[in-house]
Amino acid sequence: MKTSILIVEDLWKRYAQTDAVRGLTFEISKGEFFGLLGPNGAGKTTTIGLLSGLIEPTRGHISIAGVDLFSRPMEAKARIGLVPQSFALYPSLCTRDNLVFFGRIYGLKGRRLKERMTRVLEIVELTDRANQTVATFSNGMKRRLNIAVGLLHEPEILILDEPTVGVDPQSRNAILESIHSLNQSGVTVLYTTHHIEEAQHLCDRVAIIDQGKIIALDSPARLIRDFGKGMVCMEFNAGIADQLLDQMKRIGHVRVVDDQRRKIHIETNGIDEASRELLELMKARDGLIKTLDIAEPNLETVFIHLTGRNLRD
């Protein structure tokens, strides 16, 4: 039986009249790579704030490696490694000074601190930049150092809040690889993103979050199998007529996204055939199509299927 590192029960957070987080309940097992996938504003960052003890919940319980986060915050926090979305580094200090400071905050000192600094710099491949001022770093290097800081005290769970925001594709791949390696070496990872590819390729399980609620939770493969359909997303230069809409409905499940009938999603199990039929249908209506996206079943189409909206909306 797998040990749960993180247990979240009926977690709520209310701001004024808005519930940012609505009754989240999930568990993360030791060594698992768990993804929290949702659009901007879905409540991911608030959830991270709650899980890392930065935000007081309105109600609910969080347990980190068996320690209740709210009754024993110091013990619980020592078990969490947080990699926030912002760089959260001191740009005027060098890499080493940043690590020394954050290491000390977590109670590391002397030889142990040195050993851990050496190790995390190796993991994020910044050993040769130890004495370089952070202000001179590229965004990719800052992201890597951000991760190094989170790993410094050997947390039982590493929480990463969109750790690839604002980096070039090459750095992004390097970051994803290092996180994957960390997970392979036994580090439990909670990862938030709105990039479906990242969630799909890295995560053992994904919780799809929307408007503060988990709307689906399973492995990416199962989610795609259960909810994912091929999808054609079309945008038109003018609102489409009833006749055309009826013809489209024969091809797949049509969802009209806007009131003017300028945007539609067509879900289908046979994306190749549906695409062919649609193009045939549109031949006689030259100039009507503004944009056309054809998507194989993936977490994005799962999200669209579940919410009727795009992850990037």
């Binding site: 704030g49 890392s52 003890g53 930065l54 935000i55 007081e56 915050p73 110091m74 013990e75 926090k77 020592a78 969490i80 947080l82 926030p84 979305q85 912002s86 760089f87 959260a88 580094l89 001191y90 740009p91 005027s92 200090l93 000074d97 400071f101 954050f102 000390r104 905050i105 977590y106 109670g107 000192k109 800081v149």
Partner: protein, 413 residues
């Protein structure tokens, strides 16, 4: 916890070390003020020399010959200019007081009507009937300079009073010698002197009507503590900006995510700025001693005032950090407080020449209490027990600022 506090303190000092603008603001600015303002006021220290003569309004029209001779005596002193008329009209006592009160002149020497007669008959009359000379001075006038002028005037008065008494003394010595009286009378001319003592004149130093002045600081004694206090409160901007920057960069949240209590975080954040304040104060007074030769007075008392002052400044910094949500807000609030409280607290204009309302308002600034504390120590030579009130008020300000700041401070923003 102490280990973590020290870690935050060390980090903060390092970050501050690399923030040249902040350091310039904290150290160069008050140093600049002390140096520039003190050199600008150099004339005050050199006043009384041939190149910088002191003007004294002289009122003696009805004072008689002894008053006139005293004025003539003073005119012979290099560095003094005696002015006896205003627009060609001989000065009166009221006019002279009015001119000093308006700040048009710094000093007025007034010999009242019947001065000579009073001097000559003083010796055998009661103290209340002694001859009197009034020196009216501008309260803002440098004290050392004033002392020198007073000495010169007193010297001239005593000399003339003494000369006036010589014939009588000679009469007493030779009066019994028969036949000498006539010769003596011829020698002394028609001077008709009565008996008097050399100390028979009251020299009263006063201020124009409406001023309420006790012990006043010298320009340097005023400048060094005042600009030091002014500079100390610039920590408000640096400190508040530091909190805002940490929140903006996310480092504040990262620290809060660590197993560290909020108290330790705040102490760790404030401690370096408190230390910087103390270093600032040490440096400023160091310049005061080395460059301008001011005397610091009772050191333990000075340290106590400094500790309380730095606490108040840090408290205000935390308060601004709690109230300011954006960089422009923090900047505006810090500068507004720094300038307004400094002006109100007597950093730019001494409170003793402020109108009563301003004087009352100044009591609501930590600046005024800090300055009063420093003046008690430096100018009045008082000790620890004499500055306890100032210390308590300053720590009271600090506590008030901290309490409001902690009430308003949002850790989760």
């Amino acid at each position: 916890m102490i280990y973590q506090i020290l870690a935050i303190t060390l980090k903060e000092l390092k970050v501050l070390w690399f923030d040249r603008e902040a350091l310039a603001l904290l150290f160069a600015m008050p140093m600049f003020f002390i140096l520039v303002m003190s050199f600008a006021l150099e004339g005050v220290f050199q006043a009384g020399s041939k190149g910088h003569p002191i003007e004294i309004l002289a009122v003696h029209r009805n004072g008689g010959p002894i008053a006139a001779r005293t004025i003539a005596d003073l005119k012979r002193i290099e560095g003094l200019i005696l002015i006896e008329t205003d627009n060609g009209i001989p000065l009166t006592s009221d006019k002279a007081e009015q001119l000093v009160g308006k700040g048009a002149h710094s000093l007025a020497l007034v010999f009242p009507e019947g001065y000579t007669e009073q001097v000559l008959k003083t010796s055998k009359v009661s103290q209340e009937e002694k001859a009197t000379v009034y020196l009216i001075s501008d309260p803002a006038m440098n004290l050392q300079l004033l002392a020198a002028v007073k000495g010169a005037i007193q010297g001239a008065i005593e000399r003339q009073v003494l000369f006036a008494g010589i014939p009588q003394q000679l009469k007493e010595i030779f009066g019994t010698l028969e036949g000498m009286e006539g010769q003596l009378d011829n020698m002394l001319g028609d001077t008709n002197v009565g008996e008097r003592e050399s100390s028979g004149v009251d020299f009263i130093h006063t201020f124009p009507k409406g001023f309420n002045v006790s012990r006043r600081p010298t320009a340097t004694e005023q400048n060094v503590p005042a600009y030091t206090i002014f500079g100390v409160f610039f920590i408000v901007l640096t400190l508040a900006s530091s909190f805002l920057q940490e929140k903006k960069d996310g480092t504040f949240q990262r620290i809060l995510a660590a197993p560290l209590c909020k108290t330790a975080l705040l102490i760790g954040k404030l401690l370096p700025y408190y230390l910087v304040n103390l270093i600032q104060i040490g440096l400023m007074f160091g310049i005061g001693v080395v460059v301008f030769g001011i005397r610091l007075g009772h050191l333990p008392a000075l340290v106590i005032v400094s500790l309380a002052l730095a606490a108040a400044a840090n408290g205000l910094g935390l308060l601004v950090a709690a109230l300011g949500k954006t960089e422009p807000q923090v900047n505006a609030l810090s500068v507004l407080l720094a300038i307004t409280l400094s002006a109100l607290g007597g950093m730019m204009v001494p409170t003793f020449i402020m109108p009563d309302l301003m004087k009352t308002l100044s009591l609501f600034t930590p600046h005024a209490w800090a300055l009063a504390g420093y003046h008690d120590v430096i100018v009045r030579g008082l000790g620890v027990k004499d500055i306890l009130t100032e210390m308590l008020v300053l720590f009271g300000f600090a506590s008030l600022f901290f309490i409001i700041a902690l009430w308003r401070f949002r850790f989760d923003e």
